[in-house]
Amino acid sequence: MTVTNNETNNDILMINRKLVQIVSYSLALGLVIFLSFSFYIHQKMTAGLPPGPPMQLSRIDFSESVDSLTAARIKSKVQQMESVKHAYFNIPDGILVFNHDPKVLDADAVVTDVRQHFRANAKRHVVDAEMAGRGCPVTGNNSIFMKVGDAMARIF
């Protein structure tokens, strides 16, 4: 009777061990598939993108009207800042847009500089989470796969 009980216990332990093994292997396999798929999606999405660091687009809003001469001077000054590749000033609406490498140049520092140098009433346009979720039909690379793929691309 005792032998039978021991055998049953052993069987249960074996089954448990097998079960744990199967679950572990399944999880590991799932993780590998998930990482591979993320990497694949990331590669597909970023194929053909220009080389170099990711550039950020930043916007400065001017609350008072800016004449064309001042706008040209502001644009020129911003364009001369390190890592800025291009700038565009929408004069009628008082909006300046420029791209830059955020690791090299902080957008808030640009606003401060423009404010001080031109005594302009300017502030940085900040996109909140609600606005960010509202649009851009062509991008949409913030999925979990893109985020994981991006992290993996940085590692490898």
Binding site: L49, P50, P51, R59, V127, R134, G135, G140, N142, D150
Partner: protein
């Protein structure tokens, strides 16, 4: 004699018919907008030294990149492209580059490029909030006019000849019924 005349007439007819065919073929070969913008001629890519790029694609990419800045500075259009102005980090690593590439791919294919493919949603689905969760609101005729205006400004900044800008405008106009959904 009559038989000979008949054969000669048939040969002349066949010759004339095939000649007409050739004329038609030549007349049908309309130069694509992509070719007019430089086509497949390889030039050095100014943003990627040492690598070559098709001149047509380079021209379109320049227009697209300028247009993106015009859109981002337009208070009416920028809400459609809000993620463009998001802080980098938090998963937003390259919206600007992705938008530039996707729009350039689209324009290349739409203007007649053969070496590129656009793999995004079709225009109707891309602009339908029910099909594309990234599109939170339907666009109006005014929004579309603003977009065309932004492309024209972008093309003008890159010295694209007026007649070609007009062709781009005509091309965009064909998309209006798919894009405008309210």
């Amino acid at each position: 004699m009559t038989k000979f005349k008949l054969i000669a007439l048939l040969m002349l007819f066949a010759l004339g018919f095939s000649a007409c065919d050739n004329d038609d073929d030549d007349g049908m070969q309309v130069e694509s907008l992509y070719s007019k913008l430089g086509g497949t001629t390889m030039v050095e890519d100014p943003t990627d030294p040492g690598n070559m790029i098709e001149q047509g694609r380079l021209g379109l990419r320049s227009v697209v990149d300028s247009t993106i800045f015009v859109i981002a500075a337009d208070p009416d259009l920028s809400p459609f492209f809000a993620p463009l102005l998001m802080e980098l980090g938090n998963g937003n690593t390259n919206n600007l580059a992705v938008l530039s590439k996707n729009l350039t791919d689209f324009f290349c294919v739409a203007t007649g490029a053969e070496n590129f493919a656009y793999n995004g949603l079709n225009m109707r689905d891309a602009h339908d909030p029910a099909q594309n969760p990234r599109m939170a609101m339907k666009s109006s005729d005014q929004d579309f006019d603003n977009f065309v205006g932004a492309v024209v400004t972008g093309a003008t900044q890159n010295n694209v000849p007026t007649e070609l800008i007009q062709e781009v405008g005509e091309l965009l106009e064909t998309l209006r019924s798919d894009v405008v959904q309210q």
